[in-house]
C-alpha cells in the first residue's frame, strides 16, 4: 500500500515509453498499452481511497529510499494526503474515460501513436504533480504537463489555428513555469529544503520578505496554470484546437492541477489563509474569472470555444469558494471541482461526438441533430442542466454550497454575481442546444449517424456519475470531499509525518472540525423523496391523460401533407434555422459596448497576452507586499 502512489505514476510513464517502442507499428497494440496503463493506475489510486480517505493517514514514499537524515529531507518524497488523493481520483477518472473515448475518436487522424505517448505523459505528469510532496518536483511535473499539453494542442496541425494556439500556450506556459521556478528557488534560499511539509513547518509565522516574494511568484505561476482570468487567453485557443478527448482532459485535469497547486500553496505551504487580504485577493480573482468567463462564452460561435470559456468561469467558482476560507467554503470549492470535471468532461465529449459525426463544431452551421443523434442529445441535455445548476443534477448542490458559503461570509455582491453567472451559463447552453440539437437540420447532415458505442460508453458513465453526485450529496461529501477539506484545513498530520509526531501540535494548535454536509445544508429535501415525488406526479399526469379523453397524438405520416409542416405563416416551410449569433440579440444589444471591448481585448496577439500575465504578476507582488504582513 506504501508503493501505490509511485506505481500509479510510473505505469503511466511506462505506458508512454512502451507505446513509443511497440506501438508505432500497429493500432491495436498501441490502444492495448494505453488501456492497460490507465486502468492499472485507476485501480491503484482507487485502492488508495480506503487507507487515506477513510482511515485518513498520510502515505509517504521516499524516491530512491533517500530517507531524511536527522530529520532534514534531502530526497524527493511523495506525500499523498486526502487533498492530493481527491484530485488524484479526479485525474485518474478523466484519464481512463478519455482514453476509451479516444480509441474511435482518433481513427481518422494519422500518427496516433504520438497522440497516445503525449497523452500518457500528460496524465503521468498530472498524477505526479498531485501526489508529490516536493516543491521542485511539482515544478518539473508542471513543466512536463505543459509540454505534453502544447504537443497535444498542435496534434491536428491541419486545423485552423492549432499551431498558433500551441505557440501561445507554450509562451504563456513557459512564463508561468519560470515564475514557479523563481518562487521555488526563493523559498529554497529561505529554508534550504524543498520538502513541502518541512517548508510549511519552518515558514509558520516567520514570513520574511523573500518568502512573501516567493508566495506572490508561486501564486501567479499556479494561477496561470489554472487559467485564471488575467492569464486565461491561451486556454480557449488550446481547448478549441486540441482533439476533444484531450480538451476534456485539459478542462478535467490540467486546470484542476493548477487549482490543486493553489490550494496546496495557500492552505498548506504558507498558511496564508489566516490573512484576510489573501482571502480577498482570491475572492476578487475568482469573481472576475467567473464573470468574464461566462460573458465571453455568451458571445462565442464555436461550441468548443464556448465550453473553454465556461471551464474558465467554473474555475472562477472554485477559486471564489476556496477564497472563502471557511470549512463550508472549501467544501463547496472541492465539491464544485469534482462536479465540474464530470459535467465539463461530458460536454467536451459531446462536442467530440458532434465533430466526429459532422466534422464541424461551428454553431452557425449545425442544427436539428437531436433526431439523428438522440443519445448524444440526451447526454448533452444532462450535461447542460447540471452545469447550469438545475436541481436534480450535480451542479445545483455545489453551486448552492458556494452561494451559502459566500453569503454567510458577508459577501453579498459575490453571491449575486455568482447567481447571475449561473443564469448566463444556462443561457449559453440553451443557445448551444437550440443551434446544434434542436431547430431545423441543414441538408448536408441528412446522413449523420450516431457515434459508435465505444464513444458513447464513457459519455454514459459520466452522465450517470453526474446524476449520482447530484442526487446523493451526503455520501459523496462524507467519503470524498470532507476528508480532503480536513486534510487542507488542519495540516498537522501532514507536517507530523515529516517532522516527527507532536511537532505540529505545538505550533498549530487544535485541528479545526469540519461541518458534515447534510441534506438541509445542501439545500435539499432528501433526494429519495424527490424521486418518490416525481414518480407520483408522473403517474398522476398519465392517469389524467388516459382518463381525460386525450385523443391519440397524430404523428407525421410519410406523405407530404402540409398539416405536419412547421407553421411559416402560410409560406412553404423552407430551411430557416435560428442559430448561433441570431440568439440573445436583446442582451448583446444592451451590452454591446462591453462585448465589443471584450472582443478587442482578446486580440490574439501573443505580446498582449504576455503583457497581461506579467502585469498581473506585478499586481500580485505589490498587493502581497503591501497588505499581507
Amino acid at each position: 500500500m506504501q508503493h501505490f502512489p509511485i506505481l500509479s505514476i510510473v505505469t503511466l510513464f511506462l505506458g508512454a515509453f512502451l507505446t513509443v517502442i511497440f506501438g508505432s507499428k500497429n493500432e491495436t497494440v498501441r490502444k492495448f498499452i494505453a488501456l492497460v496503463a490507465s486502468s492499472i493506475s485507476l485501480i491503484l489510486v482507487l485502492m488508495l481511497i480506503k487507507p487515506v480517505m477513510i482511515k485518513n493517514n498520510v502515505i509517504q514514499y521516499w524516491l530512491g529510499n533517500w530517507r531524511p537524515i536527522h530529520d532534514w529531507a534531502i530526497g524527493i518524497g511523495l506525500e499523498v494526503d486526502a487533498l492530493g488523493l481527491f484530485f488524484g481520483i479526479i485525474a485518474v477518472l478523466t484519464i481512463f474515460l478519455s482514453i476509451i473515448f479516444s480509441f474511435k475518436y482518433t481513427k481518422k487522424d494519422s500518427e496516433t501513436d504520438k497522440y497516445y505517448v503525449l497523452f500518457l505523459m500528460l496524465s503521468g505528469a498530472v498524477l505526479g504533480l498531485v501526489f508529490t510532496g516536493d516543491l521542485f518536483n511539482m515544478f518539473v511535473m508542471i513543466e512536463i504537463m505543459t509540454f505534453a499539453a502544447v504537443g497535444l494542442t498542435a496534434f491536428r496541425n491541419y486545423q485552423e489555428g492549432a499551431l498558433e494556439a500551441a505557440f501561445k500556450y507554450l509562451v504563456l506556459g513557459s512564463i508561468g513555469s519560470s515564475m514557479v521556478l523563481a518562487g521555488t528557488i526563493t523559498i529554497y534560499s529561505q529554508v534550504h529544503t524543498l520538502n513541502m511539509a518541512q517548508i510549511s513547518a519552518l515558514l509558520f509565522n516567520n514570513l520574511t520578505p523573500s518568502a512573501l516574494f516567493a508566495f506572490a511568484l508561486l501564486l501567479a505561476g499556479f494561477s496561470l496554470k489554472a487559467f485564471v482570468v488575467p492569464f486565461h487567453p491561451a486556454a480557449p485557443d488550446a481547448y478549441m484546437s486540441a482533439p476533444s478527448s484531450v480538451s476534456m482532459a485539459f478542462s478535467g485535469m490540467v486546470n484542476k492541477a493548477g487549482v490543486y497547486a493553489i490550494i496546496r500553496l495557500v492552505y498548506v505551504l504558507f498558511h496564508a489563509m489566516d490573512f484576510k487580504s489573501v482571502q480577498i485577493l482570491l475572492i476578487i480573482i475568482g469573481t472576475i474569472t467567473m464573470f468574464i468567463g461566462v460573458t465571453m462564452a455568451l458571445a462565442q460561435n464555436d461550441f468548443k470555444r464556448l465550453l473553454a470559456f465556461h471551464s474558465i468561469s467554473q474555475i472562477g467558482y472554485v477559486i471564489t469558494a476556496v477564497g472563502v476560507s471557511t470549512a463550508l467554503g472549501l467544501t463547496a470549492g472541492l465539491y464544485h471541482a469534482l462536479n465540474h470535471t464530470l459535467f465539463k468532461g461530458l460536454l467536451f465529449l459531446t462536442a467530440g461526438a458532434i465533430f466526429y459525426a459532422t466534422g464541424t463544431t461551428d454553431l452557425n452551421k449545425l442544427g436539428g441533430l437531436a433526431r439523428k443523434m438522440p443519445q448524444t442529445a440526451a447526454i448533452f441535455l444532462i450535461g447542460a442542466f447540471s452545469i447550469s445548476g438545475l436541481p436534480p443534477f450535480n451542479g445545483f448542490v455545489s453551486k448552492w454550497l458556494v452561494y451559502q458559503a459566500t453569503f454567510q461570509a458577508n459577501l453579498a455582491p459575490v453571491t449575486i454575481i455568482a447567481l447571475l453567472v449561473s443564469v448566463m451559463t444556462l443561457a449559453s447552453f440553451i443557445k448551444v442546444a437550440q443551434s446544434i440539437f434542436f431547430g431545423q437540420m441543414p441538408k448536408e447532415f441528412e446522413n449523420v449517424k450516431e457515434v459508435p458505442l465505444s464513444m458513447r460508453i464513457p459519455m454514459w458513465i459520466m452522465a450517470i456519475l453526474c446524476v449520482i453526485t447530484g442526487v446523493l450529496p451526503n455520501i459523496v461529501t462524507k467519503y470524498l470531499v470532507s476528508p480532503a477539506v480536513t486534510a487542507a484545513l488542519n495540516i498537522g498530520k501532514y507536517i507530523d509525518l515529516m517532522m516527527g509526531n507532536g511537532y505540529s501540535e505545538k505550533i498549530l494548535g487544535k485541528p479545526i472540525e469540519i461541518p458534515a454536509v447534510d441534506f438541509t445544508l445542501a439545500g435539499y429535501w432528501d433526494p429519495i423523496a424527490w424521486l418518490v415525488l416525481f414518480a407520483l406526479l408522473l403517474i398522476a399526469v398519465t392517469i389524467v391523460a388516459v382518463a381525460g379523453g386525450f385523443n391519440a397524438v397524430s404523428l407525421p405520416t410519410e406523405v407530404d401533407d402540409p398539416k405536419y409542416d412547421v407553421f411559416f405563416s402560410g409560406e412553404a416551410s423552407e430551411h430557416s434555422h435560428v442559430k448561433g449569433n441570431d440568439l440573445f440579440w436583446g442582451l448583446k444589444h444592451d451590452l454591446r459596448h462591453y462585448f465589443g471591448f471584450m472582443h478587442d481585448a482578446h486580440s490574439g496577439i501573443i505580446n498582449d497576452y504576455a503583457l497581461w500575465a506579467i502585469f498581473t504578476t506585478t499586481i500580485f507582488i505589490v498587493y502581497i507586499f503591501l497588505l499581507v504582513p
Binding site: 518539473v140 513543466e143 509540454f147 494556439a165 512564463i175 521556478l181 528557488i185 505580446n607 506579467i614
Partner: protein
Amino acid sequence: MILVNYIACIILIVLGFYVILTKKNILKIIIGMGLIDYGINLLIISIGFNPGGTAPIFTFTELKPESFFVDPVPQALTLTSIVIGACVTAMALSLVIKIKEKYGTLDADKVRRLNG
C-alpha cells in the same frame, strides 16, 4: 561579490520579459523566453554559493570533516532547469517552422486568427 550575480540575474530576467513584450517577431520571443530561463538558472546557482566553498565533487576517501562545499542541491536543480529550457526552445522552434509554413509570416500581429 555575490551581489553582482544577483544583479546580472535581474537584468537577464527583465531583459527577457522586455523582449517577449515588445518584439513582434515570434523568433525573438523565443529568444526572450530563453533569456528568462538563463536568468533564473544563474539565480539558482548564485543562491547555492557559500563563499570559499569548493565544488561538491568528492569520493568517500576525500570526505574530511573540515572540507567545506558549495550547496550541491541548487546545482542539481539547474541541470534539470537547463534541460527543460533547451526542450522548450526546441519545441518552440519546431512550432515556429510550422507557423511560417502555414501563415507565411513570423509577425505576431499577423499570427492572430484565433481571437475574440
